[in-house]
């Protein structure tokens, strides 16, 4: 089996305002897949659909080879899930939470849980209700990793944590992935963090998947160009134009996707010239991609 998550033509609707539309997603085995999108773009809803917590109106979902939601329980036994918010009983202690959680997962590794508990400096008798945000984050990650899952689904696991704790949590995750060859699906706003560890990127906006591609392609394909005497029309352009802006009457700034150095020639044909090509980091690429996607949506009269 080469894909751990396969979603095709997924649709889901809550009232008139919000919907997931035509969503397809492929997470290859062994990938660390970064799921990006602004607030309210449908990331958490997609995760809940993926785990069988919501029922789709249309489309298919397959996780670890099991059809979801019908066989979600089979998939869930092999998934470590870290939700957005703490999902543990406030009145239990750290140790009681570990024992409670363990009861649901036959493969739960006690020794690993103990090692991580010490590594994360969590006291056994600490009440859950009195854990700091950072301690809760570490506890949730610890429980998910000690399950020895084949797939980790992390919904903003480190957002809101301080940098020291973020590093600890991410290091533990990276180590686990290397040892167990697990697949990771990680949703976050922390773009620079994603940039370090992810090798695949999926970008959502307004309930749609705007782009899904390997990180390296995402990073290298989106460029900002300075174009002199830029053409007014886009006849047979070999790249996708995400945005254009006139800096002065002679000079335009374009953001393009799918850029290759040979494409300078296309500008030459209309008497234009590419003066400079700038690289964008993941955050800039992400922002430009959303700008481009929204402009297209409006142009097509959709929504």
């Amino acid at each position: 089996m080469s894909d751990v998550i396969r979603i095709r033509d997924l649709a889901w609707r809550a009232g008139k305002e919000f919907a997931i539309r035509d969503l397809s997603m492929t997470v290859p085995s062994g990938a660390i897949y970064g799921f990006l999108g602004p607030n309210g773009s449908g990331k958490t809803t997609t995760i809940r659909l993926m785990l069988g917590m919501l029922t789709p109106a249309d489309g298919t979902i397959e996780v670890l080879g099991h059809a979801v939601p019908k066989f979600a329980h089979r998939a869930l036994a092999r998934i470590g899930y870290v939700p957005e918010r703490l999902h543990l009983y406030q009145s239990l202690t750290v140790d009681e939470s570990i024992r409670y959680h363990r009861a649901f997962f036959p493969g739960f590794d006690d020794a690993e849980a103990e090692r991580l508990r010490r590594h994360f400096s969590l006291r056994e008798d600490q009440p859950i209700g009195r854990l700091s945000k950072g301690e809760s984050g570490k506890l949730m990650m610890m429980l998910a990793l000690a399950q020895r899952p084949e797939l980790l689904v992390l919904d903003e696991p480190t957002d809101g944590l301080d940098p020291v704790i973020r590093r600890e949590v991410l290091s533990a995750l990276v180590e686990y992935v290397e040892v167990q060859k697990a697949t990771v699906f990680i949703s976050s706003h922390l773009v620079h963090e994603q940039e370090r560890i992810c090798d695949w990127v999926g970008v959502m906006d307004g309930g749609r998947m705007v782009a899904e591609l390997p990180m390296q392609e995402f990073r290298s394909g989106i460029k900002r160009l300075r174009v002199a005497n830029a053409p007014g029309t886009m006849d047979a352009a070999p790249f996708a134009l995400l945005s254009r802006e006139a800096l002065n009457p002679q000079l335009d700034e374009w953001v393009v996707r799918g850029w290759q150095p040979e494409m300078r020639e296309w500008f030459g044909r209309s008497g234009a010239e590419v003066r400079d090509v700038y690289d964008l980091d993941l955050e800039d690429s992400f922002v430009e991609l959303l700008r481009g996607a929204r402009a297209t949506t409006i142009a097509n009269g959709a929504n």
């Binding site: 062994g30 660390i32 590093r167 991410l170 290091s171 533990a172 990276v174 180590e175 992935v177 290397e178 040892v179 620079h192 963090e193 940039e195 370090r196 560890i197 992810c198 090798d199 390296q216 990073r219 700038y278 690289d279 980091d281 993941l282 955050e283």
Partner: protein
């Protein structure tokens, strides 16, 4: 050694790791036979994808800078003086190119840059 790994740089992370190691081998900071951190340890320390570290090590192995021994780890190879000199030159070139790109973005001309570089290096040599 890897404090300057920058995920926002246009240079891919694996290339940054490989470049840093090349320079360390070329400068003698890493001697022949030294073992490099395991993929797991380095990935965890840098919080990067383990595949990125593997990619960096593979590239160095292809260039005969390191040897990957099955089950034992990755070791610095015995690199000749000529290769070391070549690697040092390449590292300096990368550094200068980066500086030139940055300068042109800031609107600093190559002539101004050369003049400033001359002044700064002579004043730091007289220290």
């Amino acid at each position: 050694m890897f404090t300057d790994i920058d995920p926002r740089s246009p240079t891919p992370i694996y290339a940054q790791i490989a470049d840093r190691l090349r320079l360390a081998v070329a400068s003698g900071e890493l001697k022949a036979g030294t073992s490099l951190p395991s993929v797991r340890a380095l990935a965890a320390r840098l919080r990067v994808n383990p595949a990125t570290v593997v990619q960096a090590y593979r590239e160095l192995e292809r260039d005969s800078m390191v040897e990957m021994r099955q089950g034992a780890g990755t070791f610095v190879a015995d690199v000749g003086a000529e290769t070391k000199a070549h690697e040092r030159t390449a590292a300096i070139k990368r550094f200068v190119r980066q500086m030139l790109t940055e300068a042109s973005r800031l609107g600093i001309s190559p002539a101004d840059l050369r003049a400033a570089l001359g002044r700064e290096t002579s004043s730091s040599e007289s220290l």
